[in-house]
């Protein structure tokens, strides 16, 4: 569905990755593992179509995203949800945050009408918003302002915000690296729920145990490229690339 | 009625005369009907100049008058303008500046009519073609005011230049307007006539208008040159006294302070509201407005003395000093 083929990206002289290929299918969870600072975020932003690769192609259902014009690429982008390492919530109540993706997809006249209506009478929360908050167990907090949330709750809202508009692909960049085990478990359950809804999930993580818990396939990102990609169990139990093996065995320290 | 070959400006000039004539007639008949009379004269003028719409042509328009702080700050204009505005259904925007700035605004075409008190500058303004149809409007005089203890001992002097020389010799503080206004121009002329080049710690320029200069002089116990009108209007608030009188109180003629009024030349600035400017000049030099000027009092004293209406008109009021038709033709 979403496929990066032989993509390269550099910042100045520094090569982040070269000739890298990765893909995700509906209802599949792909974990990108690798040490911190290896370029997982750059890869996710490339997949999110917010960063154009120097070389290679990123295609969505066979459409090369950087060959089409801006409106078409926006339409493709809008089939992707993204959650960052930091929650990055807007200074507004929880429901307004979760609703954001739905709002920007409406036409301007509709948006203005909705804003004006909400001035007169507080409109009810959309079903999609309640449903998204339900996935992360926060439906009861929808009226609260985000300032009153804990860090874990904020990240869960961020997750709900990315699934509320029912994307085809969900990209998660170290979504639990700052969270306690309980909130981590909620996010991991939500990833499973996303998979059940036939969403293709790419989760970048430096936590191999998390990859083992949530992923169907694992891509190992080392030394500017994917050294190995395959079913989770096979990659962890029987890595074929020697660098992958040393990384998984904990010998490769970065 | 008139040769068709007359130019527009000639016709217009003639109209001014028509206004004056009508005013003169009215003065002989009924003063209260003056407004209507002037209006009639003006309406005829509009017809001649091609407007053809009569007096209504100016209704709703705005006249921009640049004038001096000495006429404005005394409250005279606010007191008399209501009648003119009601008569023509117009608005007068009076902008108070120093005489220099008032003339400069007019020179740039930013005013329609200008009322100032520095004959030399007015003559220059007319010679350069910016102003037309000057009329003597009114006069008062300048007085030299100072603290009651009079450190330079000028009280009662009959010579203004002698008084200034005494102030300079005593090094007593003197506040100058310093703003290129009519009063400032007069003051510089007086220093020149006295043969003294003022300077040093005792000579201070304020640049704050006449009222401001009086405030500063009062605060410092200093001398200053003031027009009588502003001084009278402020006398109850400040501790200064008249030490050298002007010609109104038998002082030297050199301290006289004549005000003139001119229209901005529409030949130079086509956007100037010449019709309304001439209506204004016609009105303010009319017996009715002249009476209003002479009856305007502050603290029980008359501030300005009308000069426009006279049995023996001074023809020099219409042209720069020394100008004659002979020199113009040559």
């Amino acid at each position: 569905m979403l496929r990066a083929t032989a993509v390269s990206r550099s910042y100045g002289e520094t090569v982040v990755f070269e000739n890298l290929s990765i893909d995700v299918e509906p209802g599949e969870v792909v974990a990108v593992i690798g040490p911190s600072g290896i370029g997982k975020t750059t890869l996710l932003r490339t997949l999110a179509l917010s960063l154009e690769p120097d070389e290679g192609t990123v295609s969505f259902d066979g459409t090369d995203a950087w060959e089409v014009d801006d409106p078409d690429r926006l339409a493709l982008r809008r089939r992707i949800g993204m959650v960052f390492q930091a929650a990055s919530l807007f200074d507004a109540p929880v429901a307004r945050n979760v609703e954001y993706g739905l709002r920007v997809r409406r036409s301007w006249p509709e948006r203005i009408r909705a804003e004006l209506r909400s001035l007169v009478a507080p409109s009810g929360t959309a079903d999609a918003v309640r449903d998204a908050l339900d996935i992360v167990g926060l439906d009861d907090k929808r009226a609260q302002h985000v300032e009153s949330l804990s860090a874990g709750e904020a990240q869960r809202v961020s997750f709900a915000r990315a699934v509320a508009y029912d994307p085809d692909v969900l990209l998660l960049d170290e979504p639990t690296s700052d969270l306690d085990p309980r909130n981590t478990a909620v996010i991991e359950d939500a990833i499973a729920e996303a998979r059940d809804r036939r969403i293709g999930v790419v989760v970048a993580t430096h936590d191999m145990y998390q990859a083992e818990r949530v992923a169907d396939r694992v891509a190992v990102l080392l030394d500017g490229g994917v050294t190995e990609v395959g079913p989770t169990e096979r990659v962890f139990d029987d890595p074929r690339d020697p660098r992958t093996r040393r990384f998984i065995d904990g010998e490769l320290v970065y | 009625m008139y040769p068709i070959s007359v130019t527009r400006s000639t016709t217009t000039y003639f109209c001014v005369v028509a206004v004056d004539v009508s005013v003169t007639i009215q003065r002989r008949t009924l003063l209260t009907a003056l407004g209507t009379g002037a209006l009639g004269g003006f309406a005829g003028c509009s017809g001649l100049t091609g407007g053809g719409e009569g007096a209504a042509a100016v209704a709703g328009e705005t006249l921009t008058l640049t004038t001096t702080t000495s006429t404005y700050d005394t409250g005279l204009l606010d007191a008399i303008h209501g009648e003119f505005e009601a008569m023509y259904g117009v608005t007068v925007d009076a902008v108070a500046r120093g005489t220099g700035a008032a003339l400069e605004s007019a020179r740039n075409g930013d005013a329609d009519v200008v009322m100032v008190h520095a004959r030399g500058l007015e003559d220059e303004f007319m010679r350069n073609g910016y102003g037309v149809n000057r009329r003597d409007l009114m006069f008062n005089d300048f007085v030299i005011v100072g603290p009651a203890d009079d450190p330079a001992g000028i009280e009662g002097m009959r010579s203004a230049t002698g008084a200034l020389t005494a102030i300079a010799d005593a090094g007593a503080t003197f506040v100058s307007r310093g703003d290129n206004s009519g009063t400032h121009t007069k003051e510089r002329n007086l220093w020149e006539a006295a043969g003294t080049d003022p300077g040093g710690d005792w000579y201070q320029e304020t640049g704050t208008g006449m009222g401001g200069a009086l405030n500063v002089a009062d605060g410092q116990g200093a001398y200053t040159l003031s027009d009588r009108g502003t001084f009278i209007s402020r006398r109850s608030d400040i501790g200064l006294a008249i030490l050298v009188q002007g010609p109104i109180e038998d002082g030297p003629e050199i301290l006289s302070n004549p005000y003139g009024i001119m229209a901005v030349n529409p030949g130079v600035h086509g956007n100037a509201n010449y019709d309304l400017a001439m209506a204004y000049i016609g009105w303010i030099t009319s017996p009715g407005a002249q009476n209003a000027i002479s009856s305007y009092e502050m603290n029980g004293e008359q501030l300005f003395f009308p000069e426009a209406v006279s049995e023996n008109p001074d023809f020099q009021q219409y042209v720069p000093d020394g100008w004659s038709s002979g020199t113009a033709d040559a």
Binding site: A48, S50, L74, R77, R78, I80, G81, M82, F84, A86, S88, L89, F90, D91, A92, Y100, G101, V104, R105, H145, E147, S158, R161, A162, Y165 | T64, T69, D73, L77, D78, A79, I80, H81, G82, E85, T91, V92, D93, A94, V95, A96, N108, G109, D110, T208, G209, G211, G212, L214, N215, D218, G219, S233, R234, S236, D237, I238, G239, H269, N271
Partner: protein, 238 residues
């Protein structure tokens, strides 16, 4: 000086039936000119601040330096420049703007724009870049992202607008030069503002009226500052 402002103020209260219309018209001219000028400045400044805040381009530092210098523009200099522009001889002379409220709005626009732009820009650049990325990642257009940033920066922008208003309503130099400090013969202000009226009343020795006007101006400015503080509080509470 043999004046007692307190006594004069008392007398003024007695005179109020006459002066009331005068004071009210001056206040309304002040508010009219300053509010419109600040509204126009805001409409101009915020897009400029957004463009400056979101983009890097050669000469950006220079543009920012010019804006910061503009915050210190002396109002009389601005008045002089606007005077040359709107004078009959100037480039806008044909519009006949001199000695009108429009000319005053123009000069206050020039005065209020630099502080509004500079403070808005600081507020916009102060918004976490993650928030902008999030708006884009959630399917927002560039415009959507800009709107999100503006919303995040709203307290700073409100402060900017109020600072611009404070500068506009309390400046005397430019409105005196381009407005001409005009009232009608009926004592109703045309281009006289609180500041120019105070200057004139003081020059005429009408210290009582000057003090009443000064009190009104002070009250307005205090009100504005109170609103600024209030906005700041909201910003903290949220």
């Amino acid at each position: 000086m043999p004046i007692d402002p307190a006594v004069q103020s008392l007398q003024l209260l007695v005179d109020l039936p006459f002066r009331e219309g005068y004071v009210r018209s001056i206040v309304s001219v002040s508010l009219y000119v300053s509010l419109i000028a600040v509204a126009l400045s805001t409409l101009f400044s915020i897009p400029v601040a957004v463009v400056l805040g979101f983009n890097d381009f050669p000469g950006k530092g220079l543009v920012k330096a010019v804006i910061n210098t503009g915050m210190g523009f002396p109002s009389v200099v601005v008045g002089l420049v606007v005077l040359f522009a709107v004078s009959n001889q100037g480039p806008l002379g044909s519009l006949n703007l001199l000695f009108t409220k429009q000319a005053m709005i123009l000069s206050q626009f020039v005065l209020a724009t630099p502080p509004i732009t500079a403070i808005s820009l600081a507020a916009i650049t102060g918004v976490d870049e993650d928030v902008r990325d999030a708006a884009r990642a959630l399917g927002g257009t560039r415009l959507d992202a800009a709107l999100v940033v503006l919303k995040e920066a709203r307290y700073g922008i409100a402060t900017a607008v109020l600072a611009g208003f404070g500068r506009a309503i309390s400046e005397v130099g430019s409105v005196l030069i381009v407005g001409g400090n005009i009232t009608g013969a009926d004592g109703i202000s045309k281009t006289r503002t609180l500041t120019t009226a105070i200057q004139l009343e003081a020059r005429q020795g009408q210290y009582g009226t000057a003090m009443v006007l000064g009190g009104v101006l002070l009250a307005l400015v205090l009100l504005i500052n109170a609103i600024v503080v209030r906005f700041g509080d909201w910003g903290v509470q949220r």
